[in-house]
């Protein structure tokens, strides 16, 4: 049995194909999300990699903000459940998952059986999300992918507001104008995201092990700041950005096997 999960986010599209509910056979990722050709490209890409067609897939589950618009889905599930399933697959026994995506952040608490028990999500502001980092990257003229490296050079991280993206933007500008080193500002920006999301996590009954998922998980500076803020190790896996798609494929397999 082959099941496919497609996770259509605000800035990326991801697919994963699972065989018999156990092994992932192929994954794909495109850097464009809802409303672009990214989802279709990711979908075709993963099928091409496996050398199969849509007919060979027993069940497709769509997740992410674009899930409702994906016509070719047999099932739909929220990205909350899917990230949780993907996280537990990679880290068995996982109890807390922190996902920072393009436009939202969520913290999921997972019960001992691997099911989502509770979750909290960010409010309407982009602070604490991938979008916040993108805005700062443009302002600082430094790609987000280089943030971790730059932040590692920081000697004294700047203090950047975490309550509002616009406030934070003007703080960054005044810090730079006052002569702060770029790496200190970058480190401050990463901390700002970490404390914002960390305080969401503290609202829940946070248990270890804790892992991060979503695109921002690749940023080691945010991960370290989060770990420092929460005083717990924060696990990371290279597939962090794919947890949603993987979880959707697992969800589809579970539903299929119940039939």
């Amino acid at each position: 049995m082959l099941t496919l999960g497609i996770d259509i986010g605000s800035t990326t599209a991801k697919c994963a194909v699972l065989e018999d509910g156990r092994d992932f056979r192929a994954v794909s990722l495109r850097d464009s999300g809802v409303g672009t050709d990214g989802p279709q490209a990711a979908f075709e890409g993963v099928l091409a990699e496996l050398g199969v067609s849509r007919r060979d897939i027993d069940c497709v589950c769509a997740t992410g903000y674009g899930r409702a618009a994906w016509q070719d889905a047999d099932l739909r599930a929220s990205e909350l459940t899917c990230h949780c399933l993907g996280g537990v697959y990679v880290f068995p026994g996982l109890r807390t998952l922190i996902d920072i995506g393009g436009q939202d952040a969520k913290v999921i608490s997972i019960d001992a059986g691997g099911s989502m028990a509770e979750f909290v999500m960010n409010d309407k502001c982009a602070a604490g999300t991938g979008r916040f980092l993108d805005v700062m990257a443009a302002l600082l003229r430094c790609p987000v992918d280089s943030f971790a490296e730059a932040a590692a050079r920081s000697k004294s991280p700047a203090s950047i507001s975490n309550t509002c993206t616009v406030f934070a933007e003007s703080e960054v500008i005044s810090q730079l104008a006052a002569g702060a080193a770029v790496e200190d500002v970058i480190a401050g920006v990463c901390r700002s995201v970490a404390t914002r999301v960390g305080s969401l996590a503290r609202r829940l009954d946070m248990r270890e092990p804790v892992c991060m998922s979503g695109g921002v998980a690749r940023n080691a500076a945010v991960r370290e700041a989060l770990s420092e803020y929460l005083q717990v190790p924060v696990l990371f896996d290279e597939r962090a950005q794919l947890f949603g798609a993987m979880g959707a494929a697992i969800y589809a397999a579970k539903r299929k096997s119940k039939e």
């Binding site: 903000y65 599930a77 939202d104 979750f119 409010d123 609202r203």
Partner: protein, 408 residues
């Protein structure tokens, strides 16, 4: 066209009657104004029994603002208030009302301009300032009753005396403004009507304990208008009793105004998201979620036996009580009615309700063993809501409830 029994078009249905009463509250006030009578604007937690006993017509700005927002004009009026210099952080009901006082015409819900204002600070401090501003700008008297926030569990004798003196003074002021006279006998009638209406309302809302619930909880949000504006009138009491009867009949016949399979039952916390009412209700109904309980139902059920009892009731309105008492009321509702989850509207307008909600809802979730999920929104400003965010949160809640049920 055939009219479905019990629908809003069936003139014998409670729904039709309640809608008529709510609409009549506005037209009666308008007619009184045209006759040259003095008309007031009144806060929802002000003792409506006072103007009702005196036969003074009043309108309710909160109710008007909700109507305007539900009919899609919230953003327009909020923007007018913001153009005047009011911050968009202020409650959207206040912004809409302040804007209405400026433009004096909004076909979505018109009401006569006031000759005096009636306010009571057992609601929130934003309302105090909103009414003060209106009184100043329109140059009309304001009657303000101070009912302090109650950190204790009971209402003390001292508090009752303190508030009673103000109620009596308010009656005196109202007599002076309108030339009408207080009658104890008339007060007893109003009190009896108000209690009768409240009893029927509480009975009707408690029937949600049946499975499936005989009604869709969103019905309550509409019918509440009558509880706010007309609970002292005999026709309101009759219509509410009819509503309770209809719900009992639904239980007997196994029917419901919730027209979907009731897979899950939740409590909804906070004021409705009026500009997005259809989106928020469809998001629930399409997943088989019935909102069977809301503290709103309780909030306007005033039951008492005499003048002092009435004062005590107003000292215990949900906005003026401590967190523990407020929590216990909700826990009781959740347990009596039986719910699988709690959906919290983090209402950007209302700092009071939303401010203590993260902690209170956490405690409710713990006490009742149910998942708690919140979403950002606004009771009347459509700009503070994202449909996609709402949908994801509700779907997440559904998935938790489903997996808990499967595990049972």
């Amino acid at each position: 066209m055939e009219v479905r029994k019990g629908s809003s078009q069936d003139p014998n249905s409670a729904k039709y009657k309640l809608n008529q009463i709510a609409a009549k509250a506005y037209s009666d006030a308008q007619a009184a104004k045209e006759r040259g009578e003095k008309v007031g604007w009144c806060a929802s937690n002000f003792p409506v029994e006072l103007p009702e006993t005196l036969g003074i017509p009043v309108c309710y700005p909160e109710n008007q603002a909700a109507g305007i927002a539900a009919r899609g004009q919230g953003e327009k009026l909020c923007s007018i208030a913001e153009d005047e210099g009011y911050s968009n952080d202020i409650c959207a009901y206040a912004r809409i009302s302040l804007a209405y006082a400026k433009i004096k015409d909004e076909p979505a819900q018109n009401m006569p301009m006031p000759d005096f204002m009636l306010c009571c600070n057992n609601i929130c401090s934003c309302m105090t300032k909103w009414y003060e501003n209106l009184s100043k700008e329109l140059d009309i008297p304001l009657i303000m009753i101070d009912i302090p926030f109650n950190p204790d569990n009971e209402v003390s004798r001292d508090e009752i005396e303190y508030v009673k003196a103000q109620f009596l003074e308010a009656v005196r002021q109202l007599e002076e403004i309108t030339g009408k006279k207080w009658s104890d006998e008339r007060f007893r009638e109003v009190m009896a009507n108000s209690c009768r209406t409240s009893r029927a309302w509480l009975e009707a809302t408690a029937l949600a304990a049946a499975r499936p619930s005989p009604f869709n909880g969103f019905d309550l949000l509409n019918h509440m208008a009558v509880m706010v504006t007309a609970r002292g009138k005999p026709e309101a009491a009759e219509a509410m009793e009819l509503l309770a009867r209809e719900y009992r009949e639904n239980i007997e016949n196994g029917t419901s105004t919730f027209r979907a399979e009731e897979k899950y039952r939740i409590m909804f916390e906070g004021i409705a998201c009026w500009p997005w009412l259809r989106v928020t209700s469809t998001g629930l109904k399409s997943r088989g979620i019935n909102m069977v309980s809301t503290i709103y139902a309780d909030a306007f059920g005033f039951i008492y036996d005499d003048f002092d009892g009435m004062i005590e009731a107003y000292c215990k309105v949900p906005n003026a009580i401590n967190l523990e008492t407020a929590r216990d009321k909700r826990v009781r509702l959740c347990n009596n009615i039986g719910v699988d989850g709690l959906l919290v509207h983090t209402n950007r307008s209302c700092k009071l309700w939303s401010g203590f909600m993260p902690e209170m809802s956490r405690q409710i979730g713990e006490a009742c063993g149910i998942p708690v999920v919140s979403f950002d929104g606004d009771q009347a400003d459509p700009r503070n809501f994202s449909e996609a965010q709402y949908d994801t949160r509700v779907q997440g809640l559904t998935e938790i409830m489903a997996s808990r049920k499967a595990g049972e």
